[in-house]
Amino acid sequence: MIGTGRSVKSITARRRHPLARFAVVALALGLLGGGYALAAPNGSTADAAVASGKADDVAKGKDLFVAHCASCHGLNAEGTKSGPTLVGVGAAAVDFQVSSGRMPAADPGAQAPRKPLDEWVTPEAIDQLAAYVQSLGGGPTRPSAEQVDPAKGDPAKGGELFRANCIQCHNFVGAGGALTYGKYAPSLNEASPTQIYEAMATGPQAMPVFNDSTITPAQKRDMIAYITSVRGQVDPGGSGLGRIGPVTEGLVAWVVGISLLVLAAIWITAKKRQAH
């Protein structure tokens, strides 16, 4: 009795050791993760097919689509509860979303942010995805290099269109701004000329569509010329303070201006003639 009693006791003691619960959780997680890794479909199959160059663009695009997009947009791009249908959005939409890193989305939020590209997102892969989506139901196509060449646009005309159509959300230099329900108009500083064109043509996320009858391709090029020339401009007045208007100016007036002058006042009055 003593012998068995002791061994039971020692097992119980180990079971109740403070670290035991962590060990159990770690074991469970390890088993689950390992099992999933073995059972889950291997993502690199599609990439491998692309690399081997056997299938044509549409077929390869479909493989990429199934691997990276289908969980939200459905196996045939018909859309699900968590993602809209992509039939008819066109190659321009695919190029905009994927080349800016917005898609595939990292998590379902109010809006998908621009982020660094995954390794599989090469220009070639985007071409194939775009070809596949274009094959589903047409839609806006990607602009040619000439259509988005800032050097061929008229920035002054583009500026007028930009002020009339874009700045109410994107701010006067495209620094971005807030929208409702957690959405926002992103900064245009990182967008390439092609992406700016495609955004206007497809109206991603909260943005309205500016199709060719609303703003002609030539006008779009003017706007691209304006946006790129202003964002590339060295601020002639010193630091641009984020180029968001009087909010940062007021902040600087108080934090820098008044603080410096208060320090000066303290310094001046600290110098006293010693009374004897």
Partner: protein
């Protein structure tokens, strides 16, 4: 060397005989000015104003205050060939084609921001030290007028360049005017010379901005300074300072040198900002057309609290005779008038309300330390919180965009905080004031901890306290009691005449709360501890 050289003596005798300059200068150059860093804050506004006048004059040499349309053909490429008003084109011309023009424009704008900021910090100093009390109430009122005029001066200046941002400000101004019941539309047509925006408003604002308002400002600033000079500056409580003297340095040479240096500091900071920090980049905003509006359109900081109250306000309106007749847009009228009215009227009335509550008709030349009038300090911080919440929420779109907070959440937060914040601020400030008073009382009656532990012959340990330094002690003992009006009932149980009515009873109650000293400086047992401390100190050294 007793007699001055003939060249000087001749001229000065000439002036002296005709102007009486000698005795005037003798009297005034020796004027004493008390020394405290916070007494220089008003000078930020004064010197900024001087710089505003000088830079503003420079700008008028090229600015064309007219709304006639021209095609831009200046140095700034992205606007070449764009139709714009002549005002905007000339502001661009100053920025890009006039040598030093952009620098002067930026210094002018930064000086405007610091002008109002200097006034505000100066006003807060005067409020929290009670320096507005008798005999300085009139100078306080002049100060409030100056602040109100400065806001209006800033508003007109903001509108002059006629860029897209200034147009947004103008549109809100027009909206506020329209929201005034009955006469709003008439005022709008009168001010703008017809439909908005018309072709007159820039030239009209120009006249107001460079002539009328600066003229009044200059006159009031002069009056403000003369009154300060005649009534003498208040001083902080301290050694040898009484209601009858001023302890400090004479105007000439000490204070003049300091004031001169401070002007150069102000100019230095403005030049620094004007050189290295871009302000109001009008070329980026583009010309104003009433159809365009930009995200992040904000007023300059001093109008931010009005912007915030407009953004917080729910969309209320009253339609009196259907929508055709009398619409009263409360959603514009209330935020435009109520916070501004509360703050300005509150500021103007405070000295008189305080006098009414305390019944204090004495002259005050020694300032209060903020902790020693806890209710006043709490009211002040409470008002600052109210202003601060509105001001912060004026930037709610930038807060939302840059800190990834939902836009509506910021609005909801503001709607609660604008009421709750001041209440919390009042309570917290009041407790902090009492805590600081307790600390003072402890130092006065027990001295300062010396860090030396002594063992007594009977085995008891005590910490040796050293008496506080003379000047610090005098500073703390400068606390004066706040009077409380007489309201106790006499032997027959009849309260004095003034305290019988409802208002009288309320006044008595408020007076008691406002004036009662909850932490008297001297406590009964104070003496013996200081004695022990002092006695022990001799042994230690």
């Amino acid at each position: 060397m007793d007699t001055p050289p003939k060249a000087i003596a001749g001229v000065s005798t000439f002036l002296d005989d005709r102007l009486g300059a000698g005795s005037f200068l003798k009297r005034n150059l020796r004027k004493m000015f008390p020394d405290h860093w916070s007494f220089l804050l008003g000078e930020i506004a004064l010197y900024s104003f001087v710089i505003l006048l000088l830079t503003g004059t420079f700008l008028t040499f090229w600015f064309k205050p007219t709304m006639g349309e021209v095609v831009y053909n200046g140095a700034y490429e992205p606007l070449k060939g764009v139709m714009m008003s002549e005002a905007y084109a000339s502001a661009l011309h100053i920025s890009f084609d006039v040598r030093g023009g952009l620098l002067i424009r930026q210094i002018h704008h930064w000086a405007a921001l610091l002008f109002v900021a200097g006034m505000v910090v100066h006003m807060l100093r005067v409020f929290f030290t009670g320096a507005y009390r008798k005999p300085r109430e009139l100078n306080w009122l002049i100060g409030i007028l100056l602040l109100s005029l400065a806001l209006f001066e800033g508003l007109t200046g903001y509108s002059l360049p006629d860029d897209l941002l200034s147009g947004a400000g103008l549109r809100i101004t027009q909206g506020v005017i329209l929201s005034i019941p009955l006469i709003g539309t008439y005022i709008q047509f009168f001010l703008f010379g017809g439909e908005y925006p018309g072709e007159d408003i820039i030239s009209r604002f120009f006249t107001l901005h460079i002539l009328l308002i600066p003229g009044i400002l200059l006159a009031l600033i002069t009056a403000h300074m003369i009154l300060m000079w005649v009534q003498k500056h208040t001083q902080m409580p301290g050694k040898g300072r009484t209601e009858k003297n001023v302890v400090g340095a004479p105007f000439y040479p000490a204070f003049m040198a300091k004031a001169g240096a401070y002007f150069l500091f102000t100019f230095g900071v403005l030049a620094l900002l004007g050189t290295f920090a871009q302000i109001n980049p009008i070329w980026l905003f583009g010309p104003y057309t009433p159809a365009d509006i930009s995200a992040g359109s904000q007023p300059d900081w001093y109008m931010g609290f009005l912007e915030g109250s407009l953004r917080l306000m729910p969309a209320w309106e009253i339609n009196l005779f259907g929508t055709s007749g009398g619409t009263v847009p409360l959603s514009v009228l209330i935020p435009a008038l109520v916070p501004l009215g509360l703050i300005m009227t509150g500021l103007a009335l405070y000295p008189f309300l305080e006098q009414w509550v305390t019944g204090d008709r004495r002259e005050h030349h020694v300032a209060d330390r903020p902790r020693n009038n806890p209710h006043r300090t709490s009211i002040g911080i409470s008002a600052m919180t109210f202003y601060g919440v509105l001001w912060l929420l004026g930037a709610n779109d930038e807060i939302s965009a840059n800190f990834h907070i939902g836009l509506y959440e910021t609005t909801m937060f503001g709607r609660v905080a604008v009421f709750l914040g001041p209440a919390i601020a009042y309570f917290v400030t009041y407790r902090i004031c009492l805590g600081l008073q307790r600390k003072d009382a402890e130092i006065v009656s027990h001295g300062v901890e010396s860090g030396v532990i002594k063992r007594m012959p009977n085995g008891e340990y005590i910490e040796v306290h050293t008496p506080p330094a003379d000047d610090i002690l005098a500073h703390m003992r400068g606390k004066k009691e706040i009077p409380v009006i007489e309201s106790a009932a006499d032997r027959e149980g009849i309260p004095p005449k003034g305290a019988r009515s409802l208002i009288g009873r309320l006044r008595a109650k408020m007076s008691k709360a406002y004036g009662t000293d909850r932490v008297p400086l001297e406590e009964e047992h104070g003496e013996e501890h200081v004695a022990v401390g002092a006695g022990e100190r001799k042994e230690v050294h």
